[in-house]
Symmetry: C2
Subunit: 166 residues, 2 copies
DNA sequence: TATATTGGTCAACATGGCTGACGTAAAACC
DNA sequence: GGTTTTACGTCAGCCATGTTGACCAATATA
């Protein structure tokens, strides 16, 4: 401990910085999701419902298997959530035009309303953080987050951007 | 749809940007935790154990109630996790010097080993992302993440930095 | 001494992951 | 046309991790 050399000091700082990142990630994710969680609790839903609603809203007509690859959960888990959402009138499905085995998923009016309520809530939090931090910071934020992704996820996101109908 | 004004276009872009942030946050957190999760699964532990180990390692001698405020869970949930960790020899406790009701928590050798394995794994991911993105991006990343926090959390982190014995 | 604080325990419950097994309809292939 | 594969669903049960509520013990403090 006494004979700390510059390199030791540098490594120490580096570890501190990395830990700061790890912790910020934990706290930010917790706070970022917490607000939506309380709205969901009112409707007797959880975060799993939110994720399904979000990505169906984002990709109307998505197939079950595509939703599964986005969420990385088992079909049994998703099925439970989807059945609930359909029963409660947030989601509908219709058979695929070309492949009639597929069940294309859509939000209902109610589903759209809930999705937009949740997304605008989280969006406001992001907007405030972005505004405070400034444009350059936002760019850095997104670059680092992308750097944290698995390569599979990067491919997946790239693919999604291609097929997106924007 | 036909008479979209500049303001409409701007809002559209803004919403796209916000959604990109929301999604990046989801995917990055998932991938960032996923790697550690698989190590934990080997030891029959989950993310809850990881969080406890991490913050005990970070604050040796932390009291149960301080750990509770960091984690924001009930004492029953924490108690279950802590009992397991103590039984399996990752954590020890000793009574507080001034207040003997307190049980100060410490990692054992085994606990330290596991913590450092997990943290260095996540640290490597962060280090790679930081290296790729560059110093300015890292600063922006941290600024935006801090902007996403609840004000309570900000206070809490500030307080922790003060009492930290660095 | 009376009260508040720190921490633990037991019981019961919900959510949301998981595995495994099995079924059905439709597409794709030989 | 018959077989295989794919897309999806269901039932059953398990585990981790969160929750409430009730209750208890030791200790600090006013």
């Amino acid at each position: 401990m006494a004979d700390v050399k510059p390199i030791g000091k540098a490594l120490f700082l580096r570890e501190e910085e990395l830990r700061r990142g790890i912790e910020l990630m934990f706290f930010a994710y917790r706070d970022f999701t917490g607000e939506a969680d309380s709205i969901l609790a009112e409707q007797n839903m959880g975060r799993a419902h939110h994720r399904a609603i979000y990505f169906i809203g984002r990709n109307p007509g998505i197939t079950v298997s595509d939703l599964l690859t986005i969420l990385c959960i088992t079909k049994q888990s998703l099925s439970r959530v989807l059945s609930g959402l359909m029963q409660d009138g947030y989601v509908t499905q219709k058979p695929g035009a070309t492949d009639r085995r597929q069940r294309l998923l859509y939000l209902t009016e109610t589903g759209i309303a809930l999705e937009s309520r949740l997304t605008s809530l989280q969006g406001r939090r992001f907007a405030a953080a972005y505004r405070e931090a400034g444009v350059d910071a936002v760019d850095g934020f997104q670059r680092v987050l992308r750097g944290l992704l698995d390569s599979d996820t990067i491919d997946q996101i790239a693919q999604q951007d291609q097929t997106s109908d924007i």
